[in-house]
Symmetry: C2
Amino acid sequence: MRRYLLIAMMLAAALALSSLAAAAEPLPSWNEGQAKRAIVDFVQRVTTTGGADFVPVPERIAVFDNDGTLWAEKPMYVQLAFALDRVKALAPEHPEWQDQQPFKAALEGDLKTVAAGGEHALLELVMATHAGMTTDAFAQVVEDWLATAKHPRFNRPYTELVYQPMLELLAYLRSNDFKTFIVSGGGIEFMRPWAEAVYGIPPEQVVGSSIQTKFEMRDGEPVLVRLPMIDFIDDKEGKPVGIHAHIGRRPIAAFGNSDGDLQMLQWTTAGEGLRFALLVHHTDAKREFAYDKGATSALNEAEMKGWTVVDMKRDWKVIYPSAK
Amino acid sequence: MRRYLLIAMMLAAALALSSLAAAAEPLPSWNEGQAKRAIVDFVQRVTTTGGADFVPVPERIAVFDNDGTLWAEKPMYVQLAFALDRVKALAPEHPEWQDQQPFKAALEGDLKTVAAGGEHALLELVMATHAGMTTDAFAQVVEDWLATAKHPRFNRPYTELVYQPMLELLAYLRSNDFKTFIVSGGGIEFMRPWAEAVYGIPPEQVVGSSIQTKFEMRDGEPVLVRLPMIDFIDDKEGKPVGIHAHIGRRPIAAFGNSDGDLQMLQWTTAGEGLRFALLVHHTDAKREFAYDKGATSALNEAEMKGWTVVDMKRDWKVIYPSAK
């Protein structure tokens, strides 16, 4: 009996010291201000045992959009840059693409014509570059591409253009026993190969758009083949649907940056008890990009409902991690 | 510096003692024999740091079928019993069901006629009883039903007819840092309301069949409405697809009991490194049920590939937890 007591005391002491260390300076890249205060206040309230706003550990679910919330989405979505590079890489096997839109425009780097083709053209590019191989093969293609591709303006790998303050926020939440999820309009299979190394978010906590896959036996070995058919679009009204399908309970905190995140923030904040919603507002043309386009409804609702809005220029000491 | 060393030593001592305690008798309801030895051997090998078969913690994913693997599936799937009871409960609002199959047969308890209607009849029953309400409302209906429904033979709540040896196996794996998932042909929303309390498996680790849901605003409040349309069937070839969609990496251990689990076991064991596959064989007519129907292909492949087969009668000291 005394031995168990001793172990319990050791554990309690060790845990108390380790959480003291974590609490010392949880968000070093955040300037003091309303946004940082709101985050810390929320976390303290939901983790204070016996407090009115206490949330048990299993319900501490936090969801993060990816493009524009955790990493840069300008001048174009990273996944679109990937698709365009893949069209070029695959072009020798597809001589017909030289005269066929949207492939011709993609090969010529003529983004205006690609964009003019609308959703249908984008879908064609995605299917031609994301389907027709096994899931393992696709993950490898993504990893290989990310290992060499660089952002056209910052000339750094895309996985280094993640927001340092958001990395700290993810770590801060996890040190307070939150489970952190990505809920992105981007492809689930495009994010999973690197999300664990870059964000500390394992594949099973990544939610995104998907194409269909099919189980097959090839030479006696089971494979999953990616089919050129949309399975699910995890954007706008789709985000609460994706959250429910994958997580099965309502998050208590949601982080986004655009109108595509609005329904996710509505769904999260409509739950009972204390909830937290945050929008990253891109205000820093010098260090990153400045734009409101595609975010005006979300920003309006944030103001109306008192959601936290991060002003990148004002609130973040640095944008990206130091170069390695 | 010395303080950190002391903490590290305390933690190491506490952890060593606690894992000793857990290792002492991890599977008390399992008889000594090949099945228990195979489980313990696998777990020891993948958790031995520096060993040839060591698996890092994040990759310790174990998947469990539910019906017939974690709880009883005879004389009928629990979810079918639920659907039939719901037809009775909803009948007053549907006078047309008195003359309309498969509802007429369901109301009369004429399972033979329901079964004769095949998949189409079952689908009609499922849609009439599982769709048309919000996700929150459906979860409540499931909880309310489970609180009063009883198994026709054992006269106990269904959630008490889970297999005690499998509860111990789930706990044993988790104490060795496995993440345990359900991957069931049953409805994902039918399992999530109780899986955490009964199995210790949180909603985000439950994979199952699903119908479509839709995000809507009702009186300014966001809701998710369940639609009478199949979204995904998580059975047979669907199980590896469901695993990939939800978990995003290949499990290292899979547990099932029927042909519906065959592809999940194939997919799991085809991965690199040490893998584990187990089938629960229903051999105990006295304490549970004895049947091979629907499991013959899986049992054949288990024999061919040397997968572990549990003989319920021989390997399990008890089947169900003690009555509360």
